[in-house]
Amino acid sequence: MKVTEPPSSELSFSRPTDDTLLVSLAGNWTIGNKLPSADDVLAQIKSGSRIQRITFDTEGLTAWDSRLLTFLIKVIARGTQSKICAEKEGLPPGVQRLLVLASAVPERKGARRRSERDTFLAKVGVSAVDFCRSAVEMLNFIGDAFIAFVRMLCGKSCFRLSDFILIVRECGAQALPIVSLISLLVGLILAFVGAVQLMMFGAQLYVASLVGIAMIRVMGAIMTGIIMAGRTGAAFAAQLGTMEVNEEIDALKTIGVSPMEFLVLPRMIALAIMMPLLCIYADLMGILGGLIVGVVMLDLNMVEYYEATKAAVSLKDFFIGLFQSSVFGVLVALSGCLRGMQCTRSASAVGDAATSAVVTGIVSIVVATAIITVLCNVIGI
């Protein structure tokens, strides 16, 4: 079958009387067709200065849609500007009615958004003010969380034990597979990098102390912290954000239950308990990763490796790692819950809350690690 070319649109002009411009439209005026520009009509208006009226002839018009309307609106608007009256009688009745409808409600003054470009200084100022406000909000939140914690210690606040157990399971046991995989691989990588260097001196055995100290003192805590920020921090923010969107948090407030005590507190306690446990597990998995490299690649004896690790790692390192991971647990839970509670009422806000919970969580973990490391250095442990 031969594909017929759609009839193209045509525009022509004539001057039936001296002060009238007759615009003839013909062919197919639809979206996807190449259309003449309204500027052609404007050029005609400008060329003949005595034109008082525009009339239309649409005898040859075969099809039309919104493209014709936008064309006509432009022509009519420009005509009105130069005090030329456009007579719509020649147009198809449907077009006439739609034109009336489009101009029925005048544009509301001030409704159109002005796109203003702020100056650089204004932008800096606005972000500085925003930063201060969010810092104050964060401090408020931490204060509220602390008060809720104290109230719980006094036995005044209550959350449901079943909720708490569920959260513990979600952020503890269910995180084990991913924590195993990541820490095993991190141990493996550390051992590989160390082995290449240490083999040059024939000091392969020191791979054990390298992996042991690195995992137990810092890496175990940092890796679990980052995994939990991505896994649980984001989940907390999304859960609380969705509850905000569904008015569930309002419903809690109206029955007089503080969302801080009922929702935030169990999450923070659960993560603060589970994070050190996960960290111990991550330490073990990391050492196992190092052991695999030691045995397979460096021909070390398993007992030898074990003894070397035991000799290198002190209990002090272990407690520093454990302390770090409980700090990270509180930080991740805080940032997740904070962003969730700050969420506004829309679906995209929930996504933003989850993203910003992860970013806040990871940044605060790295900053806290730096601070703790410097402090340990200063007090000499």
Binding site: L166, E247, A251, L252, I255
Partner: protein
């Protein structure tokens, strides 16, 4: 109503979001036993007004008095005490999605009464059967339909036998028959429990079926432009905007 005992008095209330004024100079009285309608066009601040009344949003100016007690000037303890006398049905039901229906209804009871677990279970089942959801105790909110979620939300709102019940757009998203059943339920609650009921809605059928008092707030004027029985407002309001609203635009403006 014969006895006109004021239950809630709103005095010169102004509500804002930041510097944007939503509504100003609101003054009206809700009498005990009223079914009081807060009506107005979309986006005029009806739900915001309800949030102020139930204590979720602080007004910029003005007072909300519950039996002579000014809610926003009261101490936090007495404010909590007042809030405990409210039941609120939110627009979307707002059931706590991590709990089943029985736990949803039971939570306020667990918090504020010293009923034993078995007594709480009895009360919970009673409330659910009052809204026609007997046997759905173990279902989670995501497993039931929107209309059922609303009714479950109502069961939760009634859990503490509140003096004042608030409804935010009860018929939004319901088919005409479910909406009608909910209206009947609201009237039934007023008759049998003697509660004062405040309904935020723009559903004309509901407004005339249940309301005996109302306030009409307007977007353009940013304040209330009528108050009283909605049926009388429809037939005899001097303000054409109110007549127009209550007759679906046939009041002639």
């Amino acid at each position: 109503m014969n006895q006109q005992e004021p239950c809630i008095t709103v005095n010169d209330l102004t509500m804002t979001y930041g510097s944007f004024v939503v509504q100003k100079d609101l003054t009206f009285t809700v009498n005990r036993g009223d079914i009081f309608i807060i009506m107005g066009g979309s986006g005029c601040g009806k739900s915001t007004l309800m949030r102020v009344l139930i204590g979720l949003k602080k007004p910029a100016k003005g007072k909300v008095l519950y039996d002579e007690v000014s809610f926003w000037d009261a101490e936090p303890e007495s404010r909590d005490h007042l809030m405990r006398q409210f039941g609120v049905l939110y627009q979307s039901g707002a059931l706590w999605s991590s709990m089943n229906l029985a736990e949803n209804v039971a939570l306020p009871l667990e918090q504020y009464t010293n009923l034993s677990p078995s007594q709480i279970r009895e009360v919970t089942s009673l409330k659910l059967s009052l809204v026609g959801l007997a046997g759905f105790e173990e279902y989670y909110p995501s497993e039931i339909s929107g209309g059922m979620q609303k009714r479950a939300g109502l069961a939760r709102a009634m859990a503490m036998d509140p003096d004042i019940l608030f409804f935010d757009e009860p018929s939004a998203g319901l088919d005409p028959i479910s909406a009608r059943l909910l209206d009947d339920l609201i009237i039934e609650l007023r008759e049998s429990l003697g509660s004062t009921i405040i309904v935020v809605t723009h559903e004309l059928a509901s407004i005339f079926a249940i309301g005996n008092n109302s306030v009409f707030i307007d977007t353009e004027a940013k304040t209330m432009i009528a108050a009283g029985d909605p049926k009388e407002l429809r037939d005899g309001s001097p303000d054409p905007r109110v007549r127009n609203f209550l007759t679906r635009g046939e009041g002639g403006v």
